[in-house]
């Protein structure tokens, strides 16, 4: 691991000021992703700003009946919160399908959103990877790409986003609240947090380095049946090949987001119009622009079947 300086901050403003004024600074929350990558020297921050002392560890009601989830709420606590279990069950389910009990105890809301891809070539520093070293090439294209994205990728990178939580949040219409060192507070739709890889897959989100996620806002509950269905290589403690977050109303309308298929949770409001027509109809629209590799073309069928199962569970 490369050497770095470290500070604990006691206010959000101090955190963003430190990020603005210190070269190579990074926030650290649970550390379960950042430290993992620092050990491999894939991440090499020169300064760590420990935000764990900030009071963003609460879940509160918003004025319009939604939920404000502090950036530091741990994944375990979010999954177990009574309001979430009752009104946003898809979110509890997605969290509980991810990682392990130990990891969920540390992992935070903001850290989970910003965790980096699990592409094996990104992790293997002997392999070319545009995300790790811009311009180096992409070993996954033409390599082992079974886990990778089938939609939204580019000729530079086909990595998928590994978060389960983000998929449920996208189906729920979540917004991300941030604070910038210039004092600006922004509210970004979750969909706009993630940047398509294009020619610059190393730039993964639309946040500034001096911008701190303070909360995630969920709109007021919409009722319906909440399903999170995750397909993976073992029954627990594995990343998704494909996952589905679905909220389905009695009249078969609803929201559907896919995980494991793109650089971000994949949802299309236009495709959702076809939800009452069944899994095949919505999948054809949702994945109309898919460009799978020979090794992961199976994900299209898998996504359709996973959506089908979610829909039939919702109506049972």
């Amino acid at each position: 691991m490369k050497s770095f300086t470290y500070e604990r901050v006691t206010s959000a403003q101090k955190a963003v000021n430190a990020a603005a004024s210190t070269p190579g600074a990074r926030f650290i929350a649970g550390g379960t992703n950042l430290l993992d990558l620092m050990k491999l020297e894939i991440e090499t921050p020169q300064h760590l700003i420990d935000v764990n002392g900030l009071e963003f560890d609460k879940i509160t009601m918003t004025e319009d009946g939604g939920l404000r989830i502090g950036a530091l709420v741990r994944n375990t606590d979010l999954a177990a919160a009574p309001q979430v279990r009752r009104d946003y069950a898809v979110l509890s389910r997605a969290l509980l399908a991810g990682a392990s009990g130990q990891l969920r105890n540390k992992a935070t809301t903001a850290g989970n959103l910003l965790q980096r891809t699990r592409c094996a070539y990104f992790y293997d520093t002997n392999q070319p990877c545009n995300k790790r070293r811009p311009g180096a090439g992409c070993a996954a294209i033409g390599g082992a790409s079974r886990q990778h994205a089938i939609v939204g990728g580019s000729n530079a990178c086909i990595a998928s986003h590994p978060s389960d939580m983000a998929v449920a949040m996208r189906a729920l219409g979540a917004m991300v609240e941030t604070l910038h060192s210039n004092g600006q507070v922004r509210t970004i739709p979750l969909n706009d947090l993630y940047r398509a890889p294009g020619d610059t897959p190393h730039i993964e989100n639309t946040l500034d380095t001096a911008e701190l996620i303070t909360a995630v806002i969920l709109p007021k509950p919409v009722g319906g049946k909440h399903i999170y269905y995750k397909v993976r290589d073992r029954a627990s403690y594995a990343f998704a090949l494909v996952s589905v977050a679905a909220i389905v109303q009695p009249d078969q309308t609803g929201q559907v987001a896919l995980g494991g298929v793109a650089y971000k949770p994949w949802r299309s409001e236009e495709a959702e119009v076809y939800l009452p027509d069944g899994a095949n109809a919505i999948t054809m629209h949702l994945l109309a622009d898919a460009h799978p590799t020979a090794q992961n073309a199976f994900k299209i069928k898998l996504a359709e079947r996973a959506i089908g199962l979610a829909l039939s569970n919702a109506s049972s």
């Binding site: 300086t5 993992d36 540390k106």
Partner: protein, 220 residues
Amino acid sequence: MNPRKPSEDGFRLSRRQVLIGTAGSAVTAVFAKADDVQAVTRMETAADPPSSSHVAFILNGRRYALDVDNRITLLDVLRERLHLTGTKKGCDHGQCGACTVIVEGRRINACLTLAVMHEGDSITTIEGLGTPDNLHPLQAAFIKHDGYQCGYCTPGQICSAVAMLEELKAGVPSHVSSDLIATSAVTDAEIRERMSGNICRCGAYSNIVDAIREIAGGQA
């Protein structure tokens, strides 16, 4: 290596003095010399911001205060600095659970957390759960049910299980809980899912589940 703090150099120096004249002193002296050189470099570049920090925490009921390299994980501090080697290093990447310890009542992977991030925390390792003369009930149950073969994963399994049972009591649901709202029953499926962060290379899983079930009072 990191530049050493003056206080540590004092300790190094006296250790070298003690060791000089014993077998292997040549090697020791060379290392000590390298340390001295680093200490000089450190003074010359005193304007550099420090890459080590002070941290104090309560470990198994005792207070510890130490200067640590910012890079050192809690796991390495426990094993290498404090010589509490009950906590094991399996993968060092959060994938196996061998390093599970209980911090502020919660199980975490000690390999994926920096020691400096634990200022003021209360930490329990396997050494703090029980002793050979006074075993924690789960330690006794693991022995009774043969919940191990090589034993390497066992401290992590036991620390994980202790905190997992508290999570169950607190009503935390799991991936296999059919009802998210109700408190989960202690079934084998629940125990297995909740313990999935602890890998056992020897495959002692069924005996591990037996041991945990006995303490949790669940049904097979």
